[in-house]
Symmetry: C2
Subunit: 206 residues, 2 copies
């Protein structure tokens, strides 16, 4: 028997609500998946940190929030700076969001530092320092569970391998190599905000 | 008369579909609103470009994709560099996405350059140049409709006002002031990619 289709108001309303719940559910699941227990980064079973492009949910640090670029040219550091040439520093956007709201770096914060050579010292805009090629890649993570024994819960990493391609994974550096300088000289919670105008300007109450 | 609620399969299905269409419609509208005819930026009736924070849909350039930081210290430029000190350059994420896919800057591309003083020349990491305070803010836009008479369709803007706060709006600079150097010396479509490793590395086919 043929019956013309009829839209019943009440069941339709239920359906609409159902559709909404369905979509919200999908969005919520995606958001939870992205958080992975509040940690964006991935360590392997050997406690090595993977480069962000290889995380469970891969991320490109060059699209994170840029915070500043100290420059320590080799020529001004007896030919061998601790951090060669330009250091572009980035913070993960999730953690920048929290910094803007609270002025604090949340547990799970990750920042990446990418080093670049001085490629040219003269351009049409004047004399100075112009970026050349990528040299190195480092990171710092604040994690009170994973690094409960590190000062301030911050650990430091380098994927740079001199004369070789960057490593895909790397172990935390000993506290004496990196943490001690951050602990002693960094202005805000182990982070050198004194050299990072983006972070200073975004800090609430400033 | 009391009737127990009953979920009718067919109307419920219609409702679910309706809910889905409703949500997709909202998302599509939001996406279109964000594009504003493929232009993210806002000009006022006097053809002045607003700072991104004042656009119809405000945007914070410090959260765009960072492409590089040339440094032309005043001391290396007779005390007065054309672009004082550090220049942090950003590209709008929509246009970076197109660059990654095509290796070209789409119509409507906007890049911002923010200038920062050298704040310190010595830090625990070595001798060099460390960012101080914000000095200036500039932008470039490629727009074949609005700037059909500019070489390459690129126009250049500065919100910097010496000794005064940054302007909220600003007119395009004459082609002879900015465009001519970009046209003559920039490697890729009026953009100095030779100094921007992020753009070089993201260019397809490299």
């Amino acid at each position: 028997m043929y019956r013309p289709l009829s839209i019943k108001p009440l069941p339709t309303l239920f359906g609409l609500a159902g559709g909404l719940v369905l979509i919200l559910g999908i969005l919520a699941t995606a958001s939870i998946a992205e958080k992975k227990g509040d940690r964006v980064y991935t360590f392997n079973d050997e406690d090595e940190l993977l480069q962000p492009l290889y995380w469970d949910i891969p991320s490109n640090w060059r699209e994170w929030v840029y915070v500043g670029t100290p420059l320590t040219p080799n020529e001004l550091n007896n030919g061998k700076a601790s951090f060669p040439e330009f250091h572009s520093v980035y913070i993960h956007p999730d953690h920048f969001k929290v910094w803007k709201r609270t002025g604090a770096f949340p547990d799970g914060t990750i920042m990446v530092k990418e080093m670049t050579s001085v490629g040219s010292k003269q351009a049409v805009s004047g004399s100075g320092y112009f970026m050349g090629e990528y040299l190195g890649l480092e990171a710092t993570i604040k994690d009170s569970k994973r690094f409960k024994d590190e000062p301030g819960f911050w650990a430091y990493f380098s994927w740079t391998r001199e004369g070789k391609p960057r490593a895909k994974t790397t172990k935390a550096e000993p506290a004496g190599k990196c943490n001690i300088c951050h602990q002693s000289f960094a202005k805000d919670d182990w982070v050198f905000t004194q050299y990072y105008p983006v972070l200073r300007a975004a800090k609430p109450g400033r």
